[in-house]
């Protein structure tokens, strides 16, 4: 079966998943204690009539299932609804805030992959030597330390104490340098990186530690494989064995973990955005929940769910691409 057909099939499979998520989120948001209209009218001397007026205006007086169907009808046509709290289009609100979050998550992933794979391989190669012991302790700490705490510590050390790096906000590379008063693109780029380093490490450490542990275990297993013995017996240099014969087999679980951990990374991004004062999707999400901004909650949830589903599908495709034993959904 072709790759295209497989991909289409997987996307079609994702539709019921997304519908399920939308129902769940809609119900949960609406069942959350609190009245969005009262929250909106805070500080305003509002009588019953006024509240009813506002409710009617946003359709909040209608039963839940009607509102849900309405919302979904709009969503199918590409209308993500209206944030009644901010009086703005949900789609444009998300569009304006998704950039920093994606930048943060993707760079954290890049950081995690670039560090964890070589470290995991070296640890496997030097199993039970000092390097391995140290890397295992670091990995254990990385897995068990909350990312926001790492973020705060990084700020204290590198921003407050040493003053090397900025501690708040990001520089958006997609904005023009003039906005920040940067002198040309080089400075713009350097500033982007400087702002990104600390939150990237804070968010990426968990991923790095997880991946490193898996990479180490997988490489150890793969290096003990009969096919590695065979390659050695045929005079294949140790470097080639490490980089090719053992490596490629060991990467299969890594791919799965990268895909599945996208959810923890997106969740972690919410906290990191707070710690580093980044105006991303995570903070918008938090505010939407506090204000019971139903349509905004729905919009962000659907976006995150879609990103996750796409991530998983890409993972599966990559898996089938690397592992010849996995087929594109052919009848076995």
């Amino acid at each position: 079966m072709g790759l295209l057909r497989y991909t289409t099939y997987r996307f079609l499979q994702a539709i019921p998943v997304l519908i399920g998520i939308s129902i769940l989120t809609f119900v949960l948001a609406n069942l959350t204690p609190g009245d969005p209209v009262r929250l909106m009218l805070q500080g305003v001397e509002a009588d019953q009539e006024m509240i009813e007026q506002v409710e009617a205006r946003y359709g909040l007086d209608r039963p839940m299932h009607e509102r849900y169907l309405d919302y979904m009808a709009g969503l199918v046509q590409g209308d993500m609804g209206h944030s009644f709290h901010r009086n703005q289009d949900v789609a444009s609100l998300i569009a304006s805030r998704i950039g920093p979050t994606l930048l943060l998550v993707l760079s954290a992933y890049a950081f995690a992959l670039v560090t964890s794979i070589p470290l995991g391989i070296i640890a496997a190669k030097r199993r039970n030597e000092p390097f391995d012991h140290v890397s295992r302790i670091v990995a254990l700490l990385g897995v068990s330390t909350p990312s926001f705490w790492i973020g705060i510590m990084l700020i204290l050390i590198f921003a407050v104490q040493l003053g090397w790096l900025p501690s708040a906000d990001l520089v958006y590379p997609w904005w023009s340098p003039e906005v920040y008063g940067h002198d040309g693109y080089l400075e713009h780029f350097v500033e982007t990186i400087r702002h990104l380093v600390l939150p990237m490490i804070a968010l990426g450490t968990l991923q790095m530690a997880t991946l490193m542990r898996v990479e180490r275990t997988q490489m150890i297993e793969s290096l003990q494989g009969e096919y590695v013995k065979l390659a050695r017996a045929y005079g294949v240099p140790e470097r080639t064995i490490l980089r090719k014969h053992a490596f490629q087999v060991a990467q299969l679980p890594i791919i799965t973990i990268v895909g599945l951990n996208l959810s923890t990374a997106l969740g972690g991004a919410v906290l990191i955005e707070f710690v580093f004062n980044i105006n991303g999707l995570g903070r918008l999400f938090y505010e939407a929940i506090i204000q019971l901004d139903y349509q905004l909650i729905m919009g962000i949830t659907m976006i995150i769910a879609t990103m996750f589903v796409i991530g998983v599908i890409i993972t599966d495709i990559a898996y089938a691409y690397i592992d010849p034993r996995v087929t594109y959904g052919e009848a076995e």
Binding site: G225, E226, Y227, R232, G235, V236, P324, R325
Partner: protein, 391 residues
């Protein structure tokens, strides 16, 4: 096959040990054998006898914590392994010993190739069969990538894989066990080595496939003139394919002879026991005569002859005297060696010695029926075992 000429491979007093936390395991404990050009030499024994460790030692591919600690391996006049006394009196590797680089570039694959036991695990699951074959050919022969590819296809055809052009691009999981073993044989032959170590190559296969593979190897061996070391525990396979046989027990070679003499004029009780335990159509299961007990750990081998606790012919002297592998007979000018003191070549008083009652601790599972003989008043030697009154 003549013993006059310099052998292709000469192994002398090879010792390979594993240094584990529980102690030193003497997996291979001073074995010597030769392989001549064009010969198939069997290395036979139960699991744990040290056959595989011995064969990996020949390529210097013993994995940690294992290490070759003594002896000499000479291949075509070159030293694969050899020790000498250094200036400080300690043993050190000899100057003329091949370096790791030389082993990799010139010996492994090019000169000595292997076929492993488990064809399911030996091929890398994420590369095509043809790709793996081509890689090894390219590495071990002076061929371009394209030539190596053609050679790979040719070898696949040679070992009887249908549609080799098409199968070249398939992955190992698309091949059956027998077909994979054919691929591994193609791999070994394609590198044009002078010696192939086949480490239990048919053990993982079912019997019909085993027969096909043995026939294939027999044909190809004749065609290419390659020498083989055939590692197996199966005496039937030995009879079918080997020219000369080395029988191993607990890290030692206990009998060494041309294949016919081994079967018709068996000199060591262990070999006899191995032959008796082969299932045959003229024997029912009840008539089978399996070897009693299990092989002891090589970490603390029994004193004297290592086989004596399980040996039906054991006498008191066997507990004390450790027999070396001595020539006990000659068959057509080829020595027949055995490490058993019952032969006249050993003058240690076997005939006068008292027959030995079997000691129960070695055969924990069959202790009930061996213990009764311990208290037999005529055999006073093993009285310490205290197994009285079970009958």
């Amino acid at each position: 096959m003549s013993s006059e000429s310099e052998p292709l491979l000469r192994v002398e007093n090879l010792k390979t040990q594993f240094f584990t936390e529980a102690g030193t395991v003497r997996a291979v404990d001073g074995i010597s054998f030769d392989v001549h050009e064009g010969e198939i030499v069997g290395l036979v024994g139960e699991s744990g006898a040290g056959k595989s460790v011995a064969s990996m030692s020949l390529l210097r591919l013993v994995e940690s914590p294992g290490e070759i600690v003594g002896g000499e391996i000479t291949y075509k006049g070159e030293t694969i392994f050899g020790l000498e006394e250094g200036p400080d009196g300690e043993l050190q590797e000899r100057e003329d010993m091949l370096s790791n680089q030389e082993m990799r570039d010139r010996i492994r694959g090019n000169e000595i190739a292997v076929i492993f036991q488990d064809p399911m695990e030996s091929l890398n699951p994420v590369f095509t069969v043809g790709g793996q074959l081509r890689e090894f050919i390219e590495l071990n022969r002076d061929l371009s990538s394209e030539q190596a590819r053609q050679e790979a296809v040719e070898m696949l055809r040679e070992v009887g894989i249908p549609d080799p052009e098409q199968r070249y691009d398939e992955y190992p999981h698309q091949f059956s066990g027998g077909m994979r073993q054919r691929v591994l044989i193609a791999m070994a032959l394609a590198c044009e080595p002078s010696l192939i170590i086949a480490d239990e190559p048919t053990t993982a296969l079912d019997v019909t496939v085993e027969g096909q593979i043995i026939d294939l190897v027999d044909d190809l061996q004749e065609k290419y003139g390659t020498s083989f070391i055939w590692v197996t525990h199966d005496m039937g396979v030995v009879a079918e394919i080997c020219d000369r046989v080395n029988v191993m027990y607990l890290g030692e070679i206990v009998e060494q002879s041309p294949v016919d003499e081994l079967f018709y004029d068996t000199k060591h009780p262990y070999t006899e026991a191995l032959l008796d335990s082969i299932p045959r159509p003229d024997k029912t299961v009840g008539e089978l005569d399996p070897i009693e007990g299990v092989m002891p750990e090589a970490i603390s081998p029994p004193s004297g002859c290592r086989f004596h606790p399980r040996c039906p012919d054991a006498r008191e002297v066997c507990q004390r005297v450790h027999p070396e592998n001595k020539q006990v007979d000659t068959a057509e000018g080829v020595p027949h060696r055995a490490a058993c003191v019952k032969h006249d070549a050993f003058d240690v008083g076997y005939d006068e010695s008292v027959p030995l009652a079997k000691s129960p601790q070695v055969t924990a599972d069959s202790s009930a029926n061996t213990e009764t003989s311990v208290t037999d008043p005529e055999r006073g030697t093993a009285g310490s075992s205290g197994g009285e009154g079970s009958e």
